[in-house]
Symmetry: D2
């Protein structure tokens, strides 16, 4: 056996009764920062992987699915995105995808954890591809909510690329109605918000439904859609919102034209046809948005420890 | 630790370096039939599960995603499905979904492995819900290809619900151009073929692309789409084909009307909106269909042992 | 892979960073009694296994090593054992080994957990071999310490066959100086005490050393020795004590003669040569007895959660 | 879960249904040499570990048990060991233990795999403690059997420190009667042979019994004894042999005196009392030596792939 099976494994426990085993060949980094446990490993199947607090954040093989869904639908929907801000985004791949749009003049990236960004800069060039040093990039290490509150800028696109609100993680105050209300005041006319919104499996729909419905309290236009990032094991979701720009009105030819005009280059997941498909969502997700009516607020944030055991934080 | 973590696990090795661990509480059955290793287990997260040759076939929690995708798009597209044949389908859930369409007068279910059907009948009533005993059901234990070759009937819908062509499994001769050609001769005018077509992850696209392209050699109309069944861990796909009925022409209201007229009842994944979405496929899948040009033939079948190690059978 | 590797596993986590995986084919029983989690499983390598609170108690393949070490050295050392009491001993194998000595007239077995004994009676006849129904057996379900305190009998051999003092387990008050003092008053002249005394690995020596040294406060004659039960993964230990009988004085021929006279029958681990070897202990264990000076008392019991994290209970 | 349980693991599959999981924090080296897969990892429980072909060779925490058993009984039994040869011994710990005996004038270490020694030299100084550079050390990278055949030297102690004869591993021709016969001719008068002889569990006794009985065909004096190295998970064994020196005649005081005279320094496992205990072996092992009568010869070597599946090599 020992000669066939991978000897070293990363095991991700989603729950006390669900785990995924990934054969690994290297542990590039494994350290506890001020905010979280950070690991960069080499999976023999998925390539390099970033793991935060034990959970897969992105893998070399399929990070394109995550980052293209997070960035391009909102960027394309926004008529002329010049100023963009990314909250989180440590790997630098979100930054890379944003900067592919030639309209962008400035892109702020605000990550609370400087050490994560340093480790990604050192070990994961395949993600950021040098964009931490792009002239348009403004990197800042601070709390994303405070940054936005204090910012005198307004933005065309605000991208929230942070982990789900796992208990005691750094992220749970960036999912509340109060936060989204403040975000709305920081958008230019026609501006878009885009975020990852957690698992889209039927049994774990509570986070996605709460994020969707909380955004709906603030923004008239909100779309959520599932996407599957194989290295996550569980199906994922993304959500975009705006005060008046409706991304659904864009048809495939328009999307493909915009991508071309902005010199975005060859994408792997997203194009006009993919864009049109975002607005058709399996029935159980739509049903979930109706049945699960929780709204996330500063005084009743959503947090959970693991799959199947979500609970309200005190 | 021992008191928090599940003590018993089913570990599914997809490859020597990828595995999923599911906490289990019962092993209902575990036996080697003439054709395959069959196991029925209780996963604490996913409920009852059927495992064939070590690979998850369907789980109580999310079998609806698999079976609704496999059955309803093709059944709805077919104007008046009276005679349906299922090749495989051991659990009986495909049969159950077919019989929900009140137009159906006869449904043949042809599974090569009688023992699998017996175990599903005994341990998995949540799947078949008594339909093995429905008056319209004709159960037969034989090779599906031979059954169709010898059949004097023609069918409105032919559903192929068999495992992927894993090396030495019983299924690999039901994926070839010759087989599909024969299938085409067994369809009534306007008839549909529907099948599961394996993993839709970019790295494992070879099976889906080969099935899609092989069907294209026989049927002018072929659609493949991804769907995510969380208990499978990896994203899945389905494909339907026909000589002249184009399911894409059906819009959401028509689909919802047909479901209602046929008394199908409440579905969880599929409805008119879901139907429209089937025809928008992520770019990497479309690109794969162009790049991966393999055609599966009787003398060059597709088989593979595990993820990432597909190979041509001799 | 799926066809070579066992699909079902029992995983025993000794610690957050140490675990053993045993391929299993059946889960005979898995229930929470009033006192502990009980499981009876079929390991394909070790045969049937009893698991309490997630930890292997005994396996069909090598329980003989555990039970022969626990029972025979003390029984043989005791000149004429007629009355024996077993505290714990749920599987019934300790009882079986005791009753092989034809001198025994009465054997009390006092287990706090009736349900464990019932499950062992039903699923593990290979251990008890019918001795629960032997005329000499007196089974009682109660706290072993209270039983001894209240007992008006005195005994020739007292065997303590209980789990290590895992935090909140039922056993930790049967390892204290006060308990052993009381035990001493219940022994007939020349009587022996025998017990399992936990792991004998250098890193986990605290339990064994504390048990040894606590017994030394009460009994002038105390011997501990290591023995290896492969299904435990970690090396184990046993200890016997007495007020005046010195088992070391028995040489191999005497031991073999006693076994023969008492009609004990063929043993697998123990005989005269094995007996002589018990009194030669690797240096690190002897050194540990000197360095680790903790004494276990009612108001400072020893408990621990897992390997490498022992601590004093509050 | 993810925050309590080790995220990275080394999993050693002994068999398709038995495996041990060790939490790891670093992979120092992982490479395929000309002869074997070599890995140096950091286990959080056992410290640094050397893994060859997937199997634990030695761990920082308990290598002393292995190396003291392998070296000191034979060295102490040999009246005046000046010339010693180690066949294998890559880590350098065997060399270190040999050189602690001040009588030693020259110690040859013959390992077939130079790369293993280089990796141990670089990553495992805790084992060799600089002795690769000791003036008395003669390192040579070649086949141990050929070295001895060609050697014109005779030796006082020959130590064979190689893996068990795993199928296709480099070691299986160093376990045969022909090899031992040749070894006997290379011993000085009164010389000793010492070797590790594999697992001592009852179910896996075939290797130990065959080694013991094969040595018996050549040497009149052969002793085997079990020892437990916790990081091996399964109980281990060692064997020493000679033409006329009988180590059993040495009593504890003599052993302790020899260790002192030779300035060996503080040992952890071995001393006079431990020495005396080596000659008392559990009954099942003695019984095994009688029942398992296989003799290993060049044309019928012993090899096996994993626990419980030993077989004769072709």
């Amino acid at each position: 056996m020992a000669d066939i099976i991978s000897p070293h494994w990363h095991i991700e426990f989603y729950a006390p009764d669900e785990a995924h085993m990934r054969g690994i060949t290297k542990i590039y980094a494994s350290e506890q920062t001020k905010y979280q446990k950070v690991e960069v490993i080499q999976s023999s199947h998925y390539g390099k992987c970033l793991i935060l607090d034990g959970h897969m954040q992105s893998a070399q093989l399929d990070e394109f699915i995550y980052h293209e869904n997070l960035v391009h639908p909102a960027m394309v929907a926004c008529p002329n995105p010049k100023k963009v801000v990314i909250i989180g985004g440590g790997e630098g791949a979100t930054l890379y995808e944003v900067l592919r749009h030639k309209t962008v003049e400035k892109c702020w990236m605000i990550d609370i954890d400087q050490r994560v960004v340093e480790l990604c800069d050192e070990y994961m060039p395949e993600w950021h591809r040098g964009t931490f040093k792009d002239k348009r990039t403004i990197l800042s290490y601070e709390d994303g909510r405070k940054f936005l509150e204090n910012s005198k800028e307004k933005f065309d696109v605000i991208i929230i690329d942070i982990p789900e609100p796992v208990e005691e993680g750094p992220a749970y105050m960036l999912y509340t109605e109060e936060f989204y209300k403040m975000v709305a005041t920081k958008l230019n006319d026609g501006g878009m918000v885009s975020l990852q919104s957690g698992c889209s499996a039927e049994k774990e729909l509570r986070c996605l439904a709460a994020v969707h419905n909380t955004l709906k309290k603030v923004f008239p236009i909100v779309y959520s859609w599932p996407a599957n990032v194989p290295s996550f094991d569980i199906p994922w979701s993304f959500t975009m919102a705006s005060m008046k720009t409706d991304p659904k009105l864009l048809k495939r030819d328009q999307v493909d034209k915009i991508l071309k005009e902005r010199n975005v280059g060859e994408l792997k997941y997203y194009d006009g046809e993919t864009h049109e498909g975002l607005f058709f969502v399996p029935k159980y997700i739509r049903d979930g948005f109706v049945k699960l009516t929780e709204i996330i607020r500063d005084n009743s944030p959503l947090t959970y420890r693991f799959m199947g055991e979500e609970k309200n934080a005190k």
